[in-house]
């Protein structure tokens, strides 16, 4: 049931513009792989190429070692859930879920509405389909709505129908194209957990496209971060956060955004940084939780101005600005730090070791003291 998916050197161009350049990705059997990136990075195009809905300009795709490039979408044993759910509006939920099975199992005359049931020798197939539809509907808890039309369902229910329509075929690979982005925030969190649970129960390979890094981080085994038509880094969520290989990845993953300060500025603010930084100018990046607002060992003080505070309940997000205008954010436990007026001057303590360094092209530099965390993701 589970399948490995291998993408080799996939490229795609629309006229002059190249939306995908040499994308290679190996998805393991049963893996939950997310493709994440800002809009226009080519992640949806890649998914459509994988589904066979759009041809690639170059490269090959194989599932379990067998090339599928020549196969039409329906023969690839792939199911897809679309952002807009893409339910057939004139069919009931039951008919919607049954469609993929009817197309596969029944001969054309038996698919005719109404009289199709009279076509001889298909009773057991019809019964099998009816049962499979009910099973799929039960799995996503929409059984009571089987006889409604999509227009009579809420967004979350439609999403479940779309999931059921994908599940009912037992495909080897599930593709999901931003399936939660039309739902409200609360429902998104619930459906996130449900899709993750569904993945565990089915054990099938999932490829999940999203622009929301939180979705990608919370659900996936591995996340491929795409920028400008390339996969910049593909690693587990923890590695992406803790060990990004590219400044763009570091900026994209994590909220609030990672703070970046040039080494020159950092040394100007506190000469203590000079010995721990390389001679060449580099970019130093600090996650919000690395920035402290009280003195600590191995940390160096720099002066800053308070710009804004966001209350998140148990913790605060403190947004600071350095003398040159560079922004810095810190995560602090609520109530621990007495902060008041905006524009107030204060000090921030930055770690003197364990920070991330990036060269002028945004590539990660492995400083000697962080080499212990490095892991070729």
């Amino acid at each position: 049931m589970t399948a490995a998916v291998q993408l080799r050197n996939i490229s795609k161009s629309f006229g002059e513009t190249q939306t995908l350049r040499d994308v290679s990705l190996a998805i393991r059997p049963g893996e939950f792989m997310s493709l994440v990136g800002p809009s226009g990075c080519g992640k949806s195009t890649l998914l459509r190429i994988l589904a066979g809905l759009a041809p690639q300009s170059g490269g090959t795709i194989s599932i379990d070692g067998t090339g599928i490039d020549h196969l039409p979408p329906s023969a690839r044993d792939i199911a897809m859930v679309f952002q807009s759910y893409a339910l057939y509006p004139h069919m009931t939920v039951r008919q919607n879920i049954a469609t993929p099975l009817r197309m596969r199992r029944l001969p054309a005359p038996a698919r005719l509405p109404g009289i199709g049931r009279l076509w001889p020798g298909q009773r057991s197939k019809h019964n099998g389909i009816d049962q499979a539809v009910i099973d799929a509907a039960r799995l996503v808890e929409i059984e009571p709505m089987l006889d409604r039309r999509p227009a009579a369902l809420s967004g979350g229910q439609r999403q479940r129908v779309a999931l059921a329509r994908a599940i009912v075929r037992h495909p080897r690979v599930f593709l999901m194209d931003e399936p939660l982005s039309n739902l409200d925030a609360r429902l998104r969190v619930t459906m996130r957990a449900e899709i993750a649970a569904l993945h565990r129960r089915l054990g099938a390979t999932f490829v999940y496209v999203t622009h929301d890094q939180v979705e990608a981080m919370t659900m996936s085994d591995r996340v491929a971060v795409m920028m400008d038509g390339e996969i910049v880094q593909c690693a587990s969520p923890a590695q992406l956060y803790g060990n990004p290989r590219d400044l763009r990845v570091a900026r994209f993953i994590g909220s609030p955004e990672i703070a970046t300060i040039s080494s020159d500025e950092l040394i100007a603010e506190n000469g203590g940084f000079a010995p721990v930084l390389p001679r060449d100018p580099v970019t130093v990046a600090f996650r919000p939780e690395a920035v402290l607002l009280s003195p600590a060992a191995d940390h160096l003080e720099i002066p800053a101005t308070l710009e804004r505070i966001e209350q998140l309940g148990p913790e605060l997000l403190v947004f600071l600005r350095l003398g040159s205008g560079t922004r810095l954010s810190a995560r602090a436990a609520a109530g621990r730090i007495p902060l008041s007026a905006e524009g107030q001057s204060l000090s921030a303590w930055l770690p003197a070791r364990g920070f991330m360094l990036f060269d002028a092209n945004g590539r990660r530099l492995d400083a000697p003291h962080i080499r212990e965390f490095a892991d070729a993701g």
Binding site: P73, F82, Q83, T99
Partner: protein
């Protein structure tokens, strides 16, 4: 307390205007119907009377059906406009789908040609068409009355506009579900665009039911005459002065369209507003 909306002076004024216009449009119909149930002599009195002085009942209707072949005209109207509509839908829908949803070389040029053809009236190619039909011996047949209208560029244009708004993702989902392009078109896209189909059907049936020009060119025998042609023929020949029978026939011949429009009105208006064609 505010007065309800419907009693505002502006509302009353607009209703007066609307009622007046409605009267203007309805009056000829009223005259047609009232003339069909009274003696023709009443037409020529100086003052207009709203109600028949001598009510003739169904006499002229019976005459229209018995003496003039009104029912044959009706049948011809149904066959010709129905036949035209079916072939138009069968040809225009796949064509419009291809123009709306497929990428292929020359697509824009083809669509430009479609738009260009919209500007050619039937009168322009009438003579070559007539000569061609004459050459194959098809003059004075149902086929001759229908064939110039089998390909409707207006239908292609209208359906292309509608299909373009149909979500691509549903079509892609159908492809993944294993449907052929024909199945997608006829079982997924067309059912989702029924208002447009209804709107076009009304346009088409009305146009060809009421068409006098082309049937007059190719139809000779009484057996094949369409409603307007039959009406025109009998107005100046046999029943010349029998206005009662003539109006009764006109009532019978316009009734199917009126009833059809009333039934499909809701879809029709939705289809028009949906595609932005007016």
């Amino acid at each position: 307390m505010n007065r309800p909306h419907r009693f505002r002076p502006g509302q009353i004024l607009s209703h007066v205007i609307l009622l007046f216009l409605a009267f203007l449009f309805m009056f000829p119909f009223y005259v047609m119907i009232v003339t069909s149930v009274r003696s023709p002599a009443e037409l020529f009195v100086p003052e207009f009377r709203w109600l028949p002085e001598s009510f003739t009942g169904l006499r002229y209707y019976i005459q229209a059906v018995a003496d003039i072949p009104a029912l044959t005209f009706l049948k011809n109207g149904v066959l010709i406009s129905g036949g035209i509509l079916i072939v138009q839908l069968l040809t225009a829908i796949p064509c419009a789908y291809a123009l709306a949803k497929f990428e292929f070389r020359g697509r824009d040029l083809l669509f430009a040609l479609v738009l260009f053809s919209l500007t050619v009236p039937i009168q322009a190619p009438a003579l070559p068409l007539f000569l061609g039909l004459n050459a194959i011996g098809a003059i004075d047949t149902y086929f001759a009355a229908m064939v110039p209208f089998f390909l409707s560029v207006f239908a292609i244009f209208l359906f292309r506009q509608t299909f373009r708004t149909y979500p691509d993702e549903i079509i892609q989902a159908a492809r993944l579900d294993g449907m052929s392009e024909w199945a997608i078109l006829w079982t997924v896209v067309v059912p989702g665009c029924l208002p447009s189909v209804a709107a076009f059907s009304i346009f088409s049936v009305t146009a060809h039911w009421n068409d006098l020009y082309w049937p007059m060119v190719v139809i000779r025998s009484n057996d094949l005459m369409t409603p307007p042609l039959g009406l025109a023929f009998f107005a100046d020949s046999e029943s010349g002065a029998n206005y009662g029978a003539l109006m009764a026939m006109a009532t019978i011949l316009t009734a199917p369209l009126m009833i059809g429009f009333l039934l499909a009105q809701r879809h029709f208006i939705r289809g028009i507003t949906m595609t932005g064609v007016k």
